[in-house]
Symmetry: D2
Subunit: 172 residues, 4 copies
């Protein structure tokens, strides 16, 4: 059985200190579960923090970079996928994740939340701005989850992954 | 001088009758200006209506399809780009447009609005749900425009295109 | 009925004077047929020459750029698709063409010939190196055509397009 | 220091028994070196055999699928990247590999060899048809290596990876 992959998304350069703290905690918590952390791979913001958090617990980290070279790659990413796709790579991030959690919001993050929900994935929004939550809830309420803390987000991830894996076994 | 390209985005299967009416009117108005209409190319919803509207005025229509084959291509698209990129093609739609207008909202549309704003394009939201407008305005207020009717949307497009073309000449 | 699109591929910076002459002649001949010329869109080599040739006869030209901006766009391209996909855009070039003709050879061109044949398209090689012809003929002889001159290439294009369109009608 | 990633490419459905044997041996040899095997991820031909070989030695395997779903995923792939890019994903395979080795030849494989060489990667052709070797050698002789057996291919990989890593250290 393959390990679950959790996509952790959020702002790069625009991440707040809270976003970064949340991402680090989430990365660590995900690794502690034995799951893999997947991010956009760059060495800034939520991507970098989630990968560092996962590595702090010995977890495996995947980074799907928009560029053709590893120049801006986070040191904490072990498996780097170089796409040279620019923002078109956002769709790969969400397709390759079993479930997605967003720490903070920005335009790139918004595109990933929308694409994840469109592709049928569940998305956890960690302490989102009310406008973000209301907007995405208006489009896909049944697969959108609200978490006030990283600990609550982890509970949503656990349930989401359990559900995904039981569905998968049922269909095999 | 190349003709301006206006990306008209919006729901496919999920489009409302109002979305379709607006898209048809917009397509016609854009063609009347001598501009090109670019859509996601499929034969449903806003994509199809905008292309039909443009053709009704003899306008040129481009469709950037997610698929590898023209099976689901709108009859009203004259230039079809087959991408086989799935939803990753959304980024091409907005990059290839000088300005973008959204008729209605859905998850794919939301991803395109976010990507357009991220890539520095201006986006006109035509009679949007308040939650959609508030959300995107919270992320990029200066390039987001609200239009209550297709006629108002056209005014925004005119100003946006005039601005783009004066910038371009200044930089050449 | 949509106009046929002919993909004209070949080296950019590495194009020889013969490649460029051939591409210009081909572009002009394709436009004279009322067909559309599709290229990789940049302002060098075969891409640029084919587009200029087509424009010299008032033909329509599409350029599918690897970049996110039109900086390196050929002046002779009327419809520019900005992909930001790097070399992954090569697959779009061949998918969006009804038939492909290669003027000269290089690594990017080789990838496009291979992808075109893989996607079921016919490919005309214009005065190819013997090694190029032998290699591709070893993989897909039935859809690979050899042309010693642009005039012969045009004959192959005519037959290929007639076949495509009769197949299409048969299946409709 | 990140582990080297070796891309093993070759036919899927069209692989010969020799291709499959070579791919399995190569996968095993690569894993024994502590390197990661990256393939196109599907459960057929060279992709599947290389992944199985690597797993037989406890190696890590990455599969970059053309599809949006894991339906056709090889059981021997541990990290699956779902791209939904069709053949455009070929460019990701070679960009994400430090070096590439081809077992057998086909149209998809030819596109990947061309793209790898274009992106500056070294490519080892394992017991290639003479036409394939001559063709690619005519385009990029200095980064193309011929191997008559999997053991010889491994020697080329060792030298190529040592070179890549010494370059990288020199540039840091």
């Amino acid at each position: 059985v393959r390990k679950p992959i959790v996509g952790v998304i959020g702002p790069g350069e625009g991440a707040t200190a809270t976003d970064v703290d949340n991402a680090y905690q989430l990365g660590a918590a995900i690794a502690t579960q034995g799951w893999i952390v997947l991010t956009g791979g760059r060495n800034v913001g939520v991507m970098d923090a989630a990968s560092r958090g996962a590595r702090s617990q010995g977890g495996l980290t995947i980074g799907i970079l928009p560029a053709a070279s590893p120049e801006a790659l986070s040191e904490a990413v072990e498996i780097a996928i170089l796409t040279d796709l620019g923002q078109a790579r956002n769709n790969l991030n969400v397709l390759s994740s079993n479930i997605v959690v967003a720490c903070g919001m920005g335009l790139g993050t918004a595109s990933e939340v929308a694409l994840a929900l469109k592709q049928g994935k569940s998305v956890v929004l960690l302490s989102p701005d009310d406008r973000a939550y209301q907007f995405f809830a208006s489009l896909a309420r049944d697969r959108l989850f609200y978490a006030s803390t990283a600990a609550v987000a982890l509970q949503h991830l656990k349930r989401g992954i359990a559900l995904t894996y039981s569905h998968r076994q049922a269909s095999l």
